[in-house]
């Protein structure tokens, strides 16, 4: 028999496998025609090689599916995740909030039932159905019932009814054949039997340590088919069902994120009691998500497993929050210990959350996350604390030069294209915690839009936006977290939109159109001395005398070839608001002459004042001191700020500053973002120029 010590069993390619067989046959002499295509042996080799290849490929794919890292089929990934006790997240319906008033009602109370329908305005040409997920009951007053803050979720109600029968379904496994299910809206009732309608509400099982034989819980899993399945306890872990029980499941089948932003609803519930209704929008639909992807399952399952349902480390908190079952999704989550705060707050964990499609969480959502998600799994002595992100908005003005002979785009197309590039840059690189505004990436984004762009530059301004208290004087501190450029008037700190104040001269009237600007003041020592005219023929080092309203500043010049090259400030001195530096040649130097210098005064602080244009369109100072600017630390303080109104629909005031550097970083609770709702956030100037 032939001996073959070098057989390649790892081959997956048909021709290589066949060649292996041929190599094997070469070491024997019973069959010699293996190399000729027409021979019978060659026919057999083909069949063998084909079969071997088929099996090898199949085994390779099977081996891939055996590991979470390499699995491709969703069912395999889900199965691996199941070993880590991870249930893939379903689609989550976006939630909107409305106030709902029903007029002309009789009776003392009125109930808005679960799954009452409302139709949204159109989002991308589709009107979405929204439903209530709970029932609400309110007392009526003056024949009207007012339901405040009713939560609506997008989707259509779906219900299933399963008869428990151990013969046909011995595992009591019930498949919910709906690909768009939002499992967070699922309600599971177990009815005694089809004739006995008393029922028990079953809860989703979460912590197995707390389960016993009486626990009315159901378990959720994703099946091989991609649908969710529910199953019940075995009488040890969770109550066991008995034959004849009826399992009633209801949930919302949602379109995921497609309806995000929907607002303005029309009541379509239709019951006679609800004939005369008014719907007032409160919050537009947000916080939806689509069914979890395979990649996300691979990522989240391992993280979830490592947290072991305990929140101890920073990542435990982040995972627990990202996986919440409350139906809230987040763009960014950051967690840090209170000891890192300034001043430190010991024994607290700070959690900063940026919800998807909204700026901040509502107070009730924050409370819910603390009590339902974080508190049950956090260490006993540690108090979780949710803070809102501190948004710093960037306004970008880009100047773009392009060569019109190298492009098919018009100037306005380049303008809108570059704007879109910048907006995309902002979306991908900013908008999260601990991020840095990267000017190189911004310029690349501009440059990469079209090959005709010769060069580009940009200026940025930072904005803080807040809602001033219009009922009582309040002091505000705005932290820009970067040194600010000192500017005078038009180039410096500015507020928008106009504010309305009480007229101090006549308290019966108001003054509208008041804006804030800066006056750099409270100067200290000499920051630097620049050379206006280097002079000539200095034989030895002249002396520099600094005179002004302050004291103590000293400096000496650096002489190169008889001229002053630079000036070194040896002592900045104190309390200067103005200063003049004079150059006096040394006593024995009769030739040196003509040097002149300019003194730059240090200034850490500036004053903010407010102004308006009076009836004759003259700029008039309204209040010469509304607050201060700390240029070095980038802090603006508005003292006892008490406007009566802010002149825009939201009542939001924006204060913009020019940063000293274009490297802007966000910290623990800071998010740098380009406001997608502000049309003036990105402006692009395009200039045609032949290169």
């Amino acid at each position: 028999m032939a001996s073959n010590t070098n057989i390649q069993i790892t081959e997956l390619d048909f021709s290589n496998i066949k060649q292996n067989f041929i190599t094997y046959l070469q070491s024997q002499d019973t069959f010699k025609d293996y190399n000729f295509s027409g021979s019978a042996l060659s026919v057999l080799l083909d069949i063998l090689a084909y079969n071997t290849q088929y099996n090898a490929y199949y085994l390779n794919m099977v081996a891939n599916e055996m590991f979470l890292d390499s699995a491709i089929q969703r069912s395999s990934v889900v199965s691996h995740a199941k070993l880590l006790n991870y249930v893939p997240k379903s689609a989550i319906a976006p939630t909107a909030t409305i106030n709902f008033t029903v007029n002309n009602v009789g009776g003392a109370t009125l109930t808005l039932p679960r799954f009452t329908s409302f139709l949204s305005e159109s989002v991308n040409s589709v009107n979405y159905n929204f439903v209530t997920t709970d029932s609400y009951t309110v007392s009526t007053a003056n024949s009207a019932a007012v339901f405040n803050n009713v939560e609506l979720k997008q989707g259509n109600p779906v219900s299933y009814s399963f008869l428990v029968d151990s013969t046909s379904n011995p595992k009591y496994l019930f498949t919910l054949s709906d690909a768009n299910i939002d499992t967070s809206t699922m309600q599971v009732l177990v009815q005694q039997s089809s004739s006995n309608t008393s029922y028990t509400i079953y809860q989703p099982a979460s912590d197995f340590l707390t389960l016993n034989s009486e626990s009315n819980v159901y378990f959720l899993q994703e099946s091989l088919t991609g649908y969710y399945e529910i199953y019940f306890g075995d009488g040890v872990l969770g109550n066991q069902l008995s034959d004849g029980n009826l399992v009633l499941v209801s949930f919302i089948s949602t379109s995921g994120t497609a309806s995000a932003g929907a607002n303005n609803f029309v009541f379509t519930g239709g019951a006679a009691t609800f004939a005369n209704t008014v719907v007032t929008p409160v919050l537009a639909a947000s916080n939806g998500s689509n069914k979890e992807t395979i990649d996300s399952i691979k990522f989240q399952a391992t993280k979830s497993f490592s947290a072991q349902n305990r929140a101890v480390t920073k990542d435990d908190y982040i995972t627990a929050i990202q996986q919440n079952t409350l139906g809230i999704t987040f763009d960014a989550v950051n967690v840090w210990g209170g000891e890192l705060n300034n001043p430190p707050v010991y024994g607290q964990v700070f959690v900063c959350l940026k919800p998807t499609g909204a700026y901040n969480l509502t107070n009730s959502q924050k409370q819910q996350i603390i009590t339902e998600i974080l508190k049950p799994i956090s260490v006993l002595t540690v108090t979780p604390n949710i803070v809102d992100p501190d948004y710093t908005y960037i306004k970008i003005v880009a100047n773009v030069f392009y060569d019109p002979t190298k492009t098919v785009f018009t100037a306005s197309e380049i303008q809108s294209g570059v704007t879109a590039s910048i907006s995309n840059f902002a979306k991908t690189t900013l908008n999260t915690f601990n991020s840095t505004f990267n000017s190189y990436d911004l310029l690349s984004a501009i440059q990469n839009f079209d090959q005709s762009i010769i060069t580009s530059e940009f200026n940025i301004q930072l904005q803080k936006k807040f809602f001033p208290n219009i009922t009582a004087p309040t002091t505000y501190k705005l932290y820009y977290n970067t040194p600010l450029e000192k500017g005078m008037f038009s180039s410096g700190i500015a507020s928008s939109p106009g504010l309305m104040f009480l007229n101090p001269a006549n308290t019966a009237s108001t003054i509208d159109g008041v804006f804030i600007e800066e006056v750099p003041m409270q100067t200290f020592g000499v920051e630097s001395i620049s050379v206006l005219n280097p002079g000539f023929n200095y034989q030895s080092v002249p002396t520099i005398t600094i005179t002004g309203d302050g004291t103590g500043a000293t400096a000496y010049p650096v002489i190169v070839n008889g001229s002053i090259q630079s000036v070194v400030v040896t002592n900045a001195g104190n309390n200067y608001t103005s200063a003049v530096a004079t150059v006096t040649p040394a006593a024995n130097d009769t030739k040196g002459q003509s040097a002149s210098l300019n003194v730059v005064i240090q200034g850490q602080y500036g004053v903010l004042r407010s102004y308006y244009y009076n009836s004759t369109n003259t700029k008039t100072i309204f209040n010469s001191n509304v607050g201060t600017v700390d240029y070095v630390n980038g802090i603006i303080t508005l003292n006892s700020f008490n406007p009566l109104d802010v002149d825009n629909a939201l009542g939001q005031l924006a204060i913009s500053v020019t940063p000293k550097t274009s490297i802007i970083s966000s910290t623990y609770d800071g998010i740098i973002t380009v406001d997608p709702f502000d049309n003036s956030a990105i402006s692009v100037n395009v200039t045609a120029k032949k290169s």
Partner: protein, 130 residues
């Protein structure tokens, strides 16, 4: 007595038994080559895995009009497949004769095996089986 060294040895796809030893019958030398040529002629394109061009198009040509042109195409096809895939053989000549009465072509293929000066012939009747 010295045994003659066999140059070619191949399985026989009929898998007949050798009487006595009950082993699978093999074919040797000329016989092996003739069988190889027959197999090549009877193999259609795309029949062997991953080798789509191995074989000949005879089967398809049998469904073409019964003319001399088809006979000529059959002849070319036979020469091509044997020349391309059977290096042991040098084709001497091929005759394809139409036999309209039996709806068939009779093929006479004469070739030399290796350096053997005696020609070998293969006779085939090509007939549509359906």
């Amino acid at each position: 007595m010295a045994t003659l060294q066999k140059i070619y040895s191949d399985l026989d796809l009929t898998f007949n038994k050798v009487p006595g030893t009950r082993d699978v019958a093999l074919s040797y030398d000329d016989q092996a080559v003739i069988r190889s040529v027959r197999y090549l002629l009877l193999t259609n394109f795309y029949e062997r895995p991953f080798q789509p061009s191995l074989g000949s198009n005879l089967n398809k040509l049998l469904f073409e009009p019964f003319t001399n042109i088809t006979a000529s195409l059959l002849q070319n096809e036979i020469i091509n497949v044997v020349t391309n895939y059977e290096p042991r053989v040098k084709v001497d000549h091929v005759n394809v004769t139409a036999d309209p009465d039996h709806n068939s072509y009779s093929v006479y293929l004469q070739f030399y095996i290796g350096n053997n000066s005696t020609p070998t012939a293969v006779n085939l009747i090509l007939q549509r089986s359906r």
